[in-house]
């Protein structure tokens, strides 16, 4: 065994520090390097816009002049919003649409999912897929078809209604209600919200049905079997087993409906345009936000509006959580 030369020892020392460094890098830094693409992308596309829009909401900015033209405005944009009649109108419209298009979705979806799950319907898979179809169809395509259906002169809906009104069976009802035909679905403010709500409901009830179906499948069969042994009817099973055990899914589905409907945009845009139609009956918050920012170029106001919307969605979600959440989550823990 010969004594290692100085050069050798030096080389070994360098190698050992290198390997120690490599070790440290692998253990401490490499994991961050490997997951960094997510954080980098998140910082660019998630965090930055978020922070920038908050920053923007305290400025007046017309984007045509470039970033250098941003002017500090303090709370001006928020004050303006609080006193803007159209902002409140848009928020009101959005909430009305949330109720008249959101509530029926769930009232239809829950019994439907129950029927599908209980095997009351043949060809279950076919119907599940069919109900889901509207959800995966492009909102723009759907809205274009619906605008044809709602046509004043040549729309399918008005053709059907005209036929019904001309029959003896229903004609009296139209006269009694003094309905003027043809109905200008997308022109008169009284019909704009129902027209949008029908479209939104049609598009989303299948999504909710599938959600509830998934939830129902987590309810143990034995509970139903025991209920049947006790002589419970289908209605009683639905009332006393299905509904209570479905609460966590209801919380989830209703939260999604709230968030989705508060951001309602495509459907009213195609049906009535960015102006929201007659008397702004179809002007949703998201439409007004888009118009303020990208058509009128008041970027600061639009940013403030988006943060106001965040606040409203937060409050609604909290209310929803109080209604459905607490109890159901506690039951899980227990």
């Amino acid at each position: 065994m010969s004594v290692p030369s100085l050069a050798h020892r030096q080389r070994d020392a360098v190698a050992s520090t290198l390997s120690a460094r490599w070790h440290v890098w692998q253990r401490r830094i490499a994991p961050y390097a490997f997951i960094s693409p997510f954080y980098v992308l998140f910082a660019i596309f998630g965090l930055f816009p978020l922070v920038f829009s908050l920053w923007l909401s305290f400025h007046n900015w017309n984007p045509v002049g470039g970033l250098g033209t941003m002017e500090w405005a303090g709370l001006d944009n928020y004050v303006y919003l609080a006193t803007d009649p159209w902002f409140w109108k848009a928020l009101g419209n959005t909430l009305v649409l949330l109720v008249i298009s959101g509530l029926p979705q769930h009232l239809v979806a829950i019994p439907l999912a129950f029927a599908l799950n209980a095997g009351l319907v043949r060809m279950r898979d076919f119907f599940t897929a069919a109900y889901f179809m509207p959800y995966i169809t492009s909102a723009v395509a759907v809205a274009l078809i619906f605008s044809t259906i709602y046509g004043t002169q040549y729309g399918i809906l008005n053709t059907v209604i005209r036929y019904l009104a001309s029959t003896r069976l229903l004609g009296w009802a139209f006269e009694a209600l003094d309905v003027r035909l043809p109905i200008n679905w997308l022109g008169s403010s009284a019909y704009i919200k129902p027209a949008i709500a029908i479209l939104v409901m049609w598009r989303w009830f299948g999504w909710n049905t599938v959600l509830y179906l998934t939830g129902l499948q987590t309810i143990p069969r034995e509970l139903y079997e025991a209920a049947m042994v006790d002589g419970a009817t289908t209605g009683q099973q639905f009332r006393w087993i299905t509904l209570p055990l479905l609460r966590p899914i209801m919380l989830f589905a209703v939260t999604l409906t709230i968030i989705g409907n508060m951001q309602l945009f495509d459907e009213p845009l195609i049906l009535v345009g960015t102006g929201g139609g007659t008397s702004q009956a179809g002007l949703t918050s998201a439409l007004y936000l888009y118009r303020t920012g990208f058509e009128w170029l008041y970027m600061g106001s639009a940013a403030a509006m988006s943060w106001a919307l965040v606040l409203v969605i937060g409050v609604l979600t909290l209310i929803n959580f109080r209604l459905f959440g607490r109890e159901s989550l506690q039951r899980r823990e227990g």
């Binding site: 017309n62 984007p63 045509v64 002049g65 470039g66 970033l67 250098g68 033209t69 803007d84 009649p85 159209w86 274009l144 605008s147 044809t148 046509g151 004043t152 002169q153 040549y154 729309g155 043809p182 200008n184 997308l186 022109g187 008169s188 403010s189 345009g273 960015t274 102006g275 139609g277 007659t278 008397s279 702004q280 118009r291 990208f294 058509e295 009128w296 170029l297 008041y298 970027m299």
Partner: protein, 409 residues
């Protein structure tokens, strides 16, 4: 998706990027071969996006301070918004000296890109004089004559004649016009007092409660009340369908509208249409395109060479006209024999001469940065007046208040 067309091999001197939207891009492509020959040292890259996407992308590039093309096409609907505040190069300065060239173009189009502080930030390439399109056959069947329409009230009288129930089911099948709002919009665009804009006076004060607007909305309301319009919103499927079925007698639009009818809306109605000027000697602008140089461009001189080539040369303007019917902003072009040719789609009428004469009579109107806001708020007033039968003056009062509020004037 952006469509990039390499027209010249790379490395041929300066390269400029030209941004445009359909189908103005077709006009540029048609002129390009001649430009290449005249300027072999300038390579042109054409970037085309859909109409709205293009303007939004341009807005983003202007906001971010990079990414804008060297030459940016602008459609009239976006001009007021982009013109009023920085971002686009002032062409009155050296080395552009656009004022030496402005007498070449129709004055009102130059006015549309002149700011209140005297900058000129774009150059007109095509224009769209507004005219009244009418169906010869429908008018003849109803025993109506377009020559009888001298005043706007005559148009109402014409509407009473042509709006008829043909199949006896108690509902009208033929209407004067698709949407009464179109008539209102045409009316308040005419007769703009000297030095005023469509919606604002020279001091930036909204004028939407003036007699001009009251008269326009009142007539439109009468058309709606008497059931003379089909209550169909413009550019909807149902609107196209009405032209295909031949159930509306007139439409007021830009000269380009005939091209849309012939190309895809209702080509089978060829020969049945005619055009005439609006009643009461009103001459209005109904569209147009412009070229601008964003401030951030690094090849402004080459960009300017290209813009001049497109907009000041007779053959370029005529090539664009032949390619996409882009009505030349260059007045010299109107002397070309092609403007006296009969247009088969319009029943052989020499319509281009009429449009050229119309264009020369359109007044210069002041452009205001608030035009986009005012236009939408006035549209909201119109829809209330028509669909809710709201009082004209109170609807316009509200519009005026909302404009002042939004613009903080």
């Amino acid at each position: 998706m952006a469509l990039t067309v390499w027209v010249m091999p790379a490395g041929a001197g300066t390269k400029i990027v030209v941004g445009a939207f359909p189908n103005l891009d077709a006009a540029i492509k048609a002129v390009l071969p001649a430009f290449e020959q005249a300027h072999p040292d300038i390579a042109v890259e054409l970037q085309v996006l859909g109409y709205e996407d293009y303007h939004n992308a341009l807005l983003t590039a202007l906001a971010a301070g990079s990414g804008a093309p060297d030459v940016a096409a602008l459609e009239i609907g976006y001009v007021a918004r982009y013109v009023a505040r920085g971002g686009l190069t002032d062409l009155t300065q050296a080395p552009f000296h656009v004022r030496e060239l402005t007498p070449l173009w129709v004055p009102y189009a130059v006015g549309q890109v002149t700011t209140t502080d005297g900058r000129i930030v774009a150059v007109p390439t095509d224009i769209a004089p507004g005219t009244l399109f009418y169906r010869r056959d429908i008018l003849a069947d109803a025993g109506a004559d377009i020559q009888s329409v001298v005043t706007w009230d005559d148009l109402l009288a014409l509407g009473r004649k042509v709006t008829r129930d043909l199949n006896g089911d108690g509902r009208a099948d033929v209407f004067l016009v698709g949407d009464a709002a179109t008539v209102a919009r045409a009316m308040f665009r005419g007769d703009i007092p000297e030095g005023e804009g469509v919606y604002f006076d020279r001091n930036g004060r909204p004028v939407v409660t003036s007699e001009r607007f009251v008269k326009a909305l009142t007539l439109a309301q009468r058309i709606r009340r008497e059931g003379l319009d089909a209550q169909i919103g413009a550019w909807s499927n149902e609107w196209y369908e009405a032209f295909r079925r031949g159930t509306v007698a007139i439409e007021i639009s830009g000269a380009w509208f005939g091209g849309h009818l012939a190309d895809y809306i209702a080509p089978e109605t060829a020969g049945k249409w005619g055009v005439t000027n609006l009643p009461e000697g009103m001459y209005v602008s109904w569209g147009g395109s412009f070229y601008a140089i964003p401030e951030q461009s690094r090849n402004k001189e080459a960009a300017w060479t290209f813009i001049r080539f497109l907009t000041t040369r007779l053959d370029s303007q005529l090539t664009a006209f032949r390619a996409i019917n882009a009505f030349p902003a260059l007045m010299e072009a109107w002397d070309d024999p092609v403007f006296d040719e009969p247009v088969p789609f319009l029943g052989g009428q020499r319509a281009r001469r009429l449009w050229a004469e119309t264009a020369s009579k359109i007044q210069v109107a002041v452009v205001d940065p608030g035009d986009a806001v005012a236009e939408e708020l006035v549209n909201a007033a119109i829809s209330q007046v028509l669909n809710e039968d709201r009082d004209v003056r109170s609807a316009l009062e509200e519009a005026q208040q909302l404009i002042l509020r939004r613009l903080r004037r």
